[in-house]
């Protein structure tokens, strides 16, 4: 039920695999992780949400924050998500228009549009 984060490199992308619940309590850990990655010079991020059980607007805010950060360096932030209940939250808030959302890490890691 807690938040788990693990990071790896796939080609020129940095993949953050997120698991558990992203909410008002745990979102700061995700923010910290994204801020750190950008500070270390990783500007092309893929956030893999397949292991996420719960996501709320605080979590969305952190993702939007991450996007702004990488864009400041002409980078990208792509999401991987196939879970209908998580996708629904992006749809409700209009964020499907803001984030490129992919069906797999491979697809996200090779996308360039």
């Amino acid at each position: 039920m807690d938040l788990s984060l693990s990071t790896r490199t796939v080609g020129d992308r940095t993949v953050v695999e997120v698991g558990g619940e992203i909410d008002v309590y745990t979102a700061p850990k995700l923010r910290e992780c994204l801020v750190e990655l950008v500070n270390e010079g990783n500007y092309h991020l893929v956030v893999d949400m397949e292991g996420v059980d719960f996501l709320d607007s605080t979590g969305l805010g952190v993702l939007v924050g991450g996007l702004k950060r990488v864009r400041a360096h002409e980078g990208s932030l792509r999401l991987v998500c196939n879970q209908e209940r998580i996708l629904k939250i992006f749809r409700i808030t209009g964020l499907t228009k803001v984030f490129p959302i992919h069906a797999s890490v491979d697809e996200a890691a090779s996308a360039t549009d």
Partner: protein, 141 residues
């Protein structure tokens, strides 16, 4: 009368408890299994917002969640203790003050986008978000 009422100090860690309680009680009351995700998310959003308002407003009374069951509907009321004038101020200031999010607005957007029956009221004693869901006629199982 509320069948279950939860009060908690305005700390992010307790929001999860509120989600837990709301979904357990809603399930027991007979809210459709398919709607429980919605209940969980909506309550979480309402409580996160209340926690943020209390923290920004320096209010140290607890956040209040009331769960009520009528014959046909299951209702949840989340109440903060921040007078509506202050809430608007805190909401604006807060959003601007936060590094890169305005999650207060986004939280309300999620609730309104998700829940069919929702009512947001402000007042001098604080604001309240009231939401309700239909109950399945026959006992679920």
């Amino acid at each position: 009368m509320a069948i279950v009422e939860l009060r908690f100090s305005a700390l992010p860690e307790h929001v999860r408890t509120a989600r837990l309680v709301a979904s357990a009680v809603a399930r027991k009351a007979g809210v459709d299994e398919q709607l429980l995700d919605e209940v969980r998310l909506a309550v979480g959003e309402a409580c996160s917002r209340a926690v943020a308002l209390h923290q920004r407003g320096g209010v140290d009374t607890p956040v209040r969640v009331e769960l009520e069951e009528s014959e046909k509907r299951f209702s949840i009321e989340v109440g903060d203790a921040v007078p509506s004038q202050a809430a608007v101020a805190a909401g604006d200031g807060g959003a601007a003050a936060e590094e890169d999010e305005d999650t207060g607005e986004m939280g309300l957007a999620v609730i309104s986008g998700l829940v069919d029956d929702v009512e947001i009221v402000g007042g001098d004693g604080g604001g309240t978000i009231r939401m309700s869901w239909p109950l399945v006629g026959a006992p679920v199982r």
